[in-house]
């Protein structure tokens, strides 16, 4: 019935278009006054009426009779006729069909750009609502400051600190890898690489950036982790098979293109005059970069790092596949830790019970994650904007 309803509305709109167009064209008499708007605009305006009326009554029909009812398409056709008829009747020589139609289009465009706002509202409300339900059974104090996480244990405990520690541990490792690599890559690309070398190097970074995280997770879990475990044990360390190091390393490599491309942009935005000033005093290229370019680009680079941190904290697949589930409170990179995203994924994959704190805790974690990354992103984007304005 859904398909039929949609098809019928479209059909009615086509008929309305044709009728409106023909009607308007018929108003013109040879040698007489001209139409204000082209006949096709009269058609479009009438068709828009048919669409709006048809959709409105179809939705109403679906609510009253049920979506599968035979009456829904009937209501749609009726609605289309009711919507189109007055608009059809309005067309006259002076009628501004184009202006009216364009007003409808504008409203439609505004509505589309409102979807972004709706999405944010949707996210906030969906996590907030379930989080509040969660806090009815678990106190926020226990959640935020508890040091024991075991949502499936008896009794279940929901201390968020070990997850935070695990997330931060992996993030620190990732940034320790991606920071220097990304920044030096960007400096090399922006300041040293010849255009030919750039055309070869840029795709490398772009391909790496485009690799799905599930692939990186596979690589981390099946290749990097055994490698680290093997070499670690050869050196006499005890290494967990799902070590924070493996996940962190691969995540770091994932973030290299992000830091590198953001920093590249920022470094390129530093005006050439600043560099020339430094060269003119006899500074070498690296001295100019270290003493002039980087300090000038610092705000942008800081924001690149913030976006990178936000990316690392929110990354899911690599840690789900390569980091563990054990909520250990440790700073040892060779031990297994778990992260916020791992727990969200684990708690919500499989059976979900929206009356148990186990499932709801995932939303509380999501809430924390969302606001943490939101703040980081907001500040970072603000800094970039300020920075751009400074040199524009």
């Amino acid at each position: 019935m859904f398909v039929w309803t949609v098809l019928l509305i479209v059909l009615m709109a086509v008929i309305a278009y044709w009728a409106g167009r023909t009607h308007a064209a018929g108003l013109v008499t040879a040698g007489g006054a001209r139409l204000h708007s082209l006949p096709s605009y009269h058609g479009l305006f009438t068709a828009a009426g048919a669409m709006i009326g048809g959709l409105a009554l179809a939705i109403a029909g679906a609510l009253v009779f049920g979506a599968q009812s035979f009456f829904t398409p009937v209501a749609a056709v009726l609605g289309a006729a009711i919507g189109a008829a007055p608009l059809y009747a309005r067309s006259s020589l002076d009628f501004r069909a184009r202006n009216n139609f364009e007003r409808i289009v504008l409203v439609l465009l505004i509505a589309c750009s409102g979807v972004a706002i709706l999405t944010t509202i949707g996210i906030v409300f969906s996590v907030l609502f379930e989080t509040l339900v969660f806090f009815r059974s678990v106190s926020p104090i226990e959640f935020l400051f508890g040091t024991h996480w075991s949502p499936t244990g008896t009794p279940a405990s929901f201390g968020f600190i070990p997850l935070l520690a695990g997330t931060l541990l992996i993030t620190v490792i990732a940034i320790a890898v991606a920071g220097p690599l990304g920044l030096f890559s960007a400096i090399f690309m922006a300041e040293y690489a010849s255009p030919r070398l750039r055309t070869f190097l840029k795709p490398v970074l772009e391909i790496l950036a485009g690799i799905p995280t599930v692939v990186l997770g596979f690589f981390a879990a099946l290749t990097v982790a055994p490698l680290i475990r093997g070499s670690g044990e050869a050196m006499g360390f005890s290494v967990a098979s799902e070590s924070a190091l493996a996940a962190g390393l691969v995540m770091g490599m994932m973030i290299v293109p992000l830091i590198s491309s953001l920093s590249d942009d920022i470094i390129n935005a530093v005006p050439q005059t600043l560099r020339d000033g430094s060269y003119a005093m006899g500074a070498t290229k690296s001295e100019t970069i270290k003493k002039v370019v980087l300090p000038a680009a610092l705000p942008g680079i800081v924001s690149a790092f913030m976006l990178a941190i936000s990316r690392a904290v929110g990354e899911t697949m690599i840690v789900v596949m390569a980091a563990g589930l054990a909520a250990n409170l440790t700073a040892n990179p060779l031990a297994a830790v778990t992260t916020i995203t791992v727990q969200i994924a684990t708690l919500l994959v499989g059976d979900q019970e929206f009356d148990s704190p186990k499932t709801l805790s995932a939303f509380a974690l999501g809430f924390v994650l969302f606001f943490f990354t939101l703040v980081l992103n907001y500040i970072a984007l603000r800094i970039v904007q300020k920075y751009r304005e400074q040199y524009d």
Binding site: R34, L35, H36, L38, P39, R96, R98, N99
Partner: protein
């Protein structure tokens, strides 16, 4: 820059032909234009006769382009721009809320500083306007309009064999004539030209100037120019703008030989500008 504030209620050209017709195509009264807080035009009034070329001259930033863009409301595209006062075309207030700006611009066409043909074929460039205004009911009529417009713009002989070639492939001067053809195609009564030759070489410029002189027979043409020689060559009337005010408007020959205002004199003789 401490010129006395120059209040004038009306500058009427002393052009005999215009006076004789007694009919002005464009009239403006007490027009003020603001960009945000900044006032770009102060208290401007002018009467522009039909079937003549009026040149707007003056130093950069004097408001001549701004005023030109007010006449077909192209300033509407600048969000911070605000226009007060009266501007009438054929006695109709163009800033009246009931005026459809689209129909106004069909009546008051415009040619821009840099030739800006659409990246489409030559034919499509000219046919676009007639099409959106519904000026042709069939292909033959449209073809006729295109040919007529290109002929009027003096471009027909050069392009008649390659109407389907992209308009952007023409030379700069041809592109500008294409833009003029495009403007003519919708049967405007007024054609505004915003420094139409500033991006062209002298030969192309001469060709456009000839064209402007021919078009004068049928249209009211207003041209903004930086070149006083050009103003002297193509226009019958010249308006001198300075610091957002209209200093003087009158017969071109008189203006260049015996300006009434000292500032005009100074500008024309090259003391500033």
């Amino acid at each position: 820059m401490n010129a006395p504030v120059h209040h004038q209620t009306l500058v009427t050209p002393a052009h005999p032909k215009a006076l004789a017709s007694g009919q002005f195509k464009v009239t403006a009264r007490d027009v003020d234009v603001y960009y945000g807080e900044k006032q770009a035009i102060k208290d401007l009034s002018i009467d522009i006769p039909d079937r003549s070329v009026s040149a707007f001259i003056g130093p950069s930033g004097c408001g001549k382009s701004t005023f030109l863009r007010c006449i077909n409301r192209m300033n509407d595209t600048i969000p911070t721009c605000r226009v007060t006062g009266d501007i009438k075309v054929d006695g109709n207030d163009i800033y009246d809320p009931n005026i459809d700006v689209v129909q106004l611009r069909a009546k008051v066409g415009m040619v821009f500083q840099k030739p800006n043909p659409f990246p489409k074929s030559i034919y499509e460039n000219v046919a676009y306007g007639p099409r959106i205004h519904g000026l042709a009911t069939n292909k033959t009529e449209l073809d006729e309009i295109v040919e007529k417009s290109l002929r009027k713009a003096g471009l027909w002989e050069e392009v008649k064999d390659r109407l389907q070639h992209p308009g952007t492939g023409l030379s700069g001067g041809q592109q500008q004539r294409l833009c003029i053809a495009r403007a003519i195609a919708v049967n405007p009564e007024v054609i505004l030209m915003d420094e139409p030759c500033s991006a062209l070489d002298p030969i192309a410029t001469a060709r456009i100037e000839e064209l402007i002189d021919e078009l004068r027979q049928n249209y009211c043409i207003v041209i903004v120019t930086h070149s006083m020689q050009q103003a002297a060559r193509v226009s019958q009337l010249t308006a001198f703008f300075h610091l957002g005010t209209l200093v003087e408007y009158g017969d071109t020959d008189e203006m260049f030989t015996a300006p009434q205002e000292k500032r005009t004199q100074d500008y024309i003789t090259g003391r500033f500008g």
